[in-house]
Symmetry: C2
């Protein structure tokens, strides 16, 4: 079997060691003679798994004791609704910063449930930058401030926030969670679909400061009611047990790899290699403001778009797959999550150099 | 590895052939060099899987063309909210028949969104029977009639409905879907969590008549908005791809086994064996009205409850596991889904006879 390096934006590749372990114990987990997916979520064995997964999340991300970690379903997109339903007080509004397609989607969904104030948007730039702090219009009475620290489609990443946000900060971290250390205490709530850095699709993580979950709207379905889910250890109903198990294996792998400091440095190194090549070339172009380039999703275009299909064909032949850019942006996109080994990036760069020499 | 027969109510066991196939191609699906869980849900390969899974659902269940099949997340419990949000007209009420704990839970959730009329309840009997049709109080102006054809905890199953229900019938079929042929055209909507007869937990199936999904409440989160999901082939957001894949394998297995007529007869035979033993014994007792005994979940108590723990210990030693009854009912429960082979039931019966001879 040929080595495949999968640059898909998500569902993304998972660490090879994790996949091999999961395959090995697929039919016989913990010597029970059963698959983990055939075991009750309320069994002693699964509860131990659930507990250790939470402990590892807390340790890796440095989650303070006054934050709950919830294991939910429905993807980040269901959280687009859950956040206003749980956090908005009656008749309140919320602030949304829009730096990409996902931020805009989250805002559109929130508008079903409350009034939205757009703090600033970079839509007119094609989402290639972040509006200057001085142009942000924060409101005085919003229930929370929402943003998307990393936008996977246009490839924009925000590291800092201004100091004058005086309401709980809510972040859709689907594509950055576990990619580097973060200060959880800076946030009121973060959420993430699992299918990039956590595990397979079908699991959603919510980390929320416990004082924020006390007054959900009465129209909140119980399954996305943070208070109900928190009181029931994310088991108000049957959770997605196999995805939860896979997330547990990924977290153990991350600890073995040295945790978030270590993986953060590696992610920086991997992305820098690609950007350095792009910047040294007249053939590959990045449209994104250098101050806000994503370490995770690197969109780039070829100087001659008529070569796009040849680039995709020849790269795929070498096992470098899923490099096609999002249809709204065109060109290519290399998504480089935690599970992408450095050698995959090196092979991509070698191919990009080779391709430029051949066609440039 | 010892043969294990898992009588858990769900997440339940999966067909052995399915598990072996899934393990074999876990790292390399369709010779892509990737796991199915590492593949984009919008890739050609996954879309083919999604399509064939739907085709097999339609074929096995005989789903008419004017019904949509949706592949969702959040379990049946999220559907408890989705049903009223999608189906209730403004200021309308809905009829709920309560024949067990799950029906009551679904009603409680619906009350968040509309007025509920309880058609009838068997709660005063400990949910051991179904109220007579003549005692049902159907309302004239309800948006729909909701019931739970099989209650997993007390073990009550309803086959027929009265003829005078003039509104769309909605059924939580989590524990009976695919267990026998049904006439879909009798229903407006059926829904089911996957973790009994379909696949692993984390996937929820909704089959809905397309004229019913046109006017969701404006407060419906998009992820549970049947109209949005239908228009996007259940891919408004990233679906639980691995669970979907497993469901596809289960449906192929069901077709190989002869489809729902065949599996329905086998399920009847398997459950009859257990009930015959119970009825011929003074040692084992079923509390459920014989007219409404579940073919899927068979609760029974021992004449002497002090033997419960010994029964559970000795059965587990023989590989007959997860026979403990729900805490609200006590005693034992044998959940016999499609994937339980007849030999598992035979071993259970042999053990029950042996145990009665030893301790009775």
């Amino acid at each position: 079997m040929k080595d495949i390096f999968n640059f898909a934006p998500g569902p993304a590749l998972l660490p090879e060691k994790v996949m091999i372990k999961a395959q090995k114990e697929f039919l016989n987990w913990r010597e029970l003679g059963l698959s983990v997916m055939e075991v009750s979520h309320r069994s002693k064995d699964f509860l131990e798994l659930a507990e250790s997964t939470e402990v590892n999340f807390r340790e890796l991300l440095g989650v303070p004791d006054n934050y709950k970690i919830l294991f939910l379903q429905g993807g980040a997109t269901l959280q687009f609704a859950a956040v206003p339903l749980n956090l908005a007080k009656q008749n309140s509004s919320a602030d949304y910063l829009i730096t990409g397609s996902w931020g805009k989607k989250s805002m559109k969904e929130a508008e079903l449930f409350l009034d939205v104030n757009v703090v600033a948007t970079s839509e007119h730039t094609g989402y290639t930058t972040v509006p200057d702090f001085k142009d942000w219009h924060l409101s005085n009475d919003s229930a929370y401030f929402h943003y998307t620290p990393n936008e996977t489609i246009a490839g924009v990443e925000i590291d800092d926030l201004p100091d004058n946000i005086n309401v709980p900060v809510v972040a859709d971290m689907s594509s950055t969670i576990l990619s580097k250390p973060i200060d959880i205490s800076r946030y009121g709530l973060i959420y993430a679909g699992a299918q990039k850095n956590i595990g397979p699709s079908g699991l959603t993580i919510v980390i929320v400061r416990e004082d924020l979950i006390l007054n959900p709207s009465k129209f909140t379905p119980s399954v996305i009611n943070y208070k109900v889910m928190s009181e029931n250890n994310s088991m108000w109903n049957t959770p997605p047990t196999f995805a939860w198990y896979m997330a547990g294996l990924v977290l153990e792998w991350l600890k073995e790899e040295g945790g978030l400091n270590s993986i953060g440095l590696l992610n920086l190194k991997k992305s820098k290699k690609v950007y350095d090549l792009i910047d040294s070339s007249q053939f590959y172009i990045s449209k994104v403001d250098k101050r806000y380039r994503s370490r995770t999703n690197i969109p780039f275009i070829l100087f001659d778009p008529s070569l796009d299909s040849i680039f995709l064909k020849e790269s795929a032949e070498l096992g470098l797959v899923n490099l096609k850019g999002h249809r709204s942006v065109g060109g290519m996109r290399a998504s480089i999550y935690n599970a992408m080994p450095e050698i995959g990036v090196d092979k991509l760069i070698d191919f990009m150099k080779f391709f430029e020499n051949k066609y440039g």
